[in-house]
Symmetry: D2
Subunit: 347 residues, 4 copies
């Protein structure tokens, strides 16, 4: 039986570069994909820490693209040789949420997600189902192609928050998600500012050429008042999951807060009276939904400033060492300063 | 100088039935109104307690209608003899909020509101400005006419929450605001349930013929799961200002919470991660905005079930005694059980 | 091989009551359904005339409900014995429209629709796929259950037009679709009026207790001005497909026209300048989309006034004769006055 | 009495450079403005032809900015010395449309518009009312400041059409309005294409660096199919008023058409069945509404590519000669090829 290289998540703290069998088509709706590249997501880092749902002995990696090398008998959406990106979140299509058009809440996500519950993209090959395979044009290269789904989640946030061309926007946190929101807002909105506390990523944030702040070294509320002539921000995007209390301080009356980042350890103490008096909207949005094609369209346009997004591209077999650059020292299982925005693995 | 009867708010805890001069037109945009009736609002009760902004030596009362008896030289919207309702919140029209079409945040509200900052409807006559005077059809009688603005605030909430005809709706609190939301949802939505803890008002809530719960005597979360086959509510309206934590428990993934009621003493401890994971929307909405004409249309239609809304109509001069029925014993300045939904004063 | 009764569409003008084999499960995602009842849709009448797309030698009927009697190996959404309604329009899930969440434009509808391109509900049994089978509660009986999908299309229209509780609404045409819109608007909107030219259906329209007009025997524009104090209608729903020119006349500035009914023979001559000057919105909406569950919720609530919707329930084998009551004399292939709103066939 | 230079519209075909008295404050809400610059709008050209409503013996010009030199006693929004732009359309605030928040349909526009019904900006001074005066930051210079209101109308269109960051957009017509929509869409949307038939303006359209087409010299439908891989455009903006039939051809199923340009001589022959089958939305939008502040924010941001918008800046006294460059030879009253995008007059 032919084998392939893969990074297998063994248990919290342990990911292993090894050889496993190349998967084979066993159902009519399956697609076998040769992986071109796979990004390391922040949630993979959280899995390694045990701070995210996980399944042991699974190949991680859910940000990948590649080429179709085999298809099941009923597959029509792609054919062998197609250059494709994936939505790692396969939806069941028949739960009540899917049937309401609200597939980001599909109750089967917990069994189906590639790279978490099923083997993912830290490997040479991935077995997927037709529904999650999307043809992409050649103009989207293998590095950019890893971010189709990531951008899709951000676009679901954009669909929720409905940013206007005259809005002032504040993005809290400039990891990969905050980066993508900032890049979009830089195009769409009248003005955008971004924050980040990690020094490496703050340096990247500054390269957007928009106001960038480290909230630990400035009085952010004052800076925002200055930037907006006292009006505060029309849209505040929490890309960290820990900033709701602050977001409420920074948003203008009638403004919108997008609660995007996730951190289940954070509790917010808020005054609902203030939400009401100022007609503030707090909008939760989860993963992507109908946004893979929009993501492809936007990446294809070349309009997003992705110049500083990809920090490095390294071989798959060096992947274990990349987690330290993303802030988690696997040997000592402790947080360290980040040395990367996005790292991409190539098998 | 001619005088009129009025209830004057002297200071926290003291409101006085007295005679004051009948006001006169002194500016071209003014309208003098003979009051037909004036409702007592819950915020008037809060003013008596010192729990709401107030101005001493002012005639309270902002839920009133009446007949135009004099107009200034530039007034065109109404004429002498017109039967009118009022928006007690006069907007300046030139602040940034007004100019953005977001007049519910007008920065001049704090100086202009009739019945709080300027003399209001607990009197025989009120001096208003043209902008807040709205002609109403005769089919809206003097009792119903007192609620035009109140319903206008509720309709601003409806504009914010965009209830659908297939939604399940939960209204938390059945005071006058909760009553109006329940009456609307009973028409609009597929199903509605309502809660109330005050015994008098709970009895009224039950008369809607929809599920009514006293959350102090039942397990509301279980009841909601039962009502919705485990799905929870599409829309939850907090008509109390103290229920955000609960509202988050009762709302379905993807659902909407309308933060309408106001209680500045309440702090909510919430987990933003839950908001994000379940794509919940928390929507603040404050007073009315462009909703007086819609309110008039809806009241004119006769479609709202107002049968149990007005508890009693009493003479203006008996108004001081009405506060106890609304839950505040003015003599001892302590809370007592309510004996009314809405009380209307007639001069 | 066991056989069943069925009405088979042979060719334009010819539908035949006959016996055909009972279908059998041949694929893992299939569901075999024992039909409880099936409504006759206006589009079935158009198929008989050759004015709608059709496929010869197909069992017509797409408004049906029934009981699951067999399922394929991969089916999870329903089980044998379940009481279900159907969405006759199976969507492929992988075309660009489906993937954008816009499945009403699925490019495979033209091959998949039950009762048009595949055998439908004018039979004792129907072979369907899991995706179109929806469990319904017992409170929805077999007659009401036939209209789950029909109401679903209307709810897609409601999602598009976003009717408000203070709106005035005009429904042009009171066939089954116009009936359903009127029944909803009667609940949701501040006021509703309805038109119909067919005498039988006009008599039904009048039973709603809302203003009903025969535009051939009155000056409808004048009536509308009278009803709305000169303001015209906030929402106009064209349930016929031939009324766009009139709808533009009847709608208020800033109002919305829902273009719902379909008649490919009708061309409208309109002045775009008027659309612009009056900020009118013309909103097309096609079949249902994510609206079967909402339809079930609404029917389950019992809130729609369906009392005059079902004209008669007749045996399946008498179905051929029903077309004349729906306005098409099959013998002479000519239009005749209607004698029914909705006719339901029971096998 | 002091006089000032002004261009007075005498009658169709005749505009005269003359001296008229400098206006004076006569009411408490008035503002006297020293004009810095005034753009010539396409509707001014139409007035000269008699193809737009007009009032004889009025100073034209409604695209202007300047400095406050005197204010009435009740004015608070601006003070002497302020640098301001104007909304030439003063709204009454008390008609039903204004009171519904729908002031673009204000019934008093027809009496109040500066530069059409009251003396406008082709002069050294203009007498305005407080409500239409908006402070602008110094970073908006006198040339850009003339377009605050024009851009405000375009932003009302943007509010209506809700362009998304992944949309493909087609702008039909590249006069000043089409230019502004193209400049915005170039920032906001994934892709934009623009059309124009006038050679001078087509040359400007090409400078955007986006696909530009002269529909008279290409097969536009084919070009659109090519650009969009057969999908057609998500958003089509008719900036001419004569393109609705074409817009329907160019828009994708589910797409939106913004009917913005106005030409009352154009009638469109459309098939409503197509609108319905393809779920197309046709959205009218008229002038600006709550969009002056957004316009100022967007111009202040410097994000719009205005580099090719202003063709020339000439003295007010040379203004009569400018109409020929905008396509109307006043001597012979005939259309001639355009030689300008926007011409600005300086007193």
């Amino acid at each position: 039986m032919a084998t392939m290289k893969a990074l297998v998540f063994r248990k919290v703290g342990l990911i292993e570069s090894t050889e496993i069998p190349i998967p084979e088509i066993t159902a009519p709706n399956q697609v076998l994909l040769k992986v071109a590249a796979c990004g390391i997501c922040g949630s993979d880092v959280k899995i390694m820490e045990g701070k995210h749902v996980y399944k042991e002995n699974t190949v991680l990696g859910h940000e990948f693209c590649g080429t179709v090398v085999d298809i099941g008998s009923s597959v029509t959406a792609v054919k062998v040789g197609d250059w494709i990106a994936l939505d790692n979140n396969s939806r069941c299509g028949v739960c009540d949420f899917c049937r309401m058009g609200f597939s980001s809440q599909c109750i089967e996500l917990k069994n189906r997600t590639l790279g978490i519950f099923k083997n993912g993209g830290y490997a040479e090959y991935v077995l997927a189902t037709e529904d999650v395979c999307f043809r992409i044009p050649n103009v989207i290269d293998e590095i950019t192609g890893t971010q189709v789904e990531t951008l899709g989640t951000v676009l679901n946030g954009m669909n929720t928050v409905q940013m206007q061309c005259y809005d002032s926007v504040l993005v809290l946190g400039c990891g990969p998600i905050g980066y993508l929101f900032t890049a979009i807002a830089k195009n769409v909105a009248a003005s955008v500012a971004v924050t980040e506390i990690d020094p490496f990523r703050f340096d990247i944030a500054k390269k957007f050429g928009v106001p960038a702040f480290n909230p630990e070294t400035c009085n952010l509320e004052e800076e925002i008042l200055k930037l907006t002539s006292g009006k505060k921000m029309d849209v505040v995007i929490d890309a960290t999951g820990t900033q709701l209390e602050n977001a409420i301080k920074y948003v203008t009356p009638g403004g919108k807060i997008l609660a995007f980042g996730m951190d289940s350890s954070y509790m917010a103490n808020i005054q609902p009276n203030y939400i009401t008096r100022n007609a503030i909207k707090i909008l939760g949005t989860y993963i992507g939904q109908n946004t893979i094609l929009p993501s492809i369209k936007l990446l294809q346009s070349g309009k997003l400033d992705m110049r500083n997004f990809f920090t490095e591209v390294i071989p798959l077999t060096s992947g274990v060492g990349a987690f330290a650059k993303l802030g988690l020292d696997l040997n000592e299982m402790k947080h360290v300063p980040k040395k990367a925005m996005k790292i991409v693995l190539k098998p």
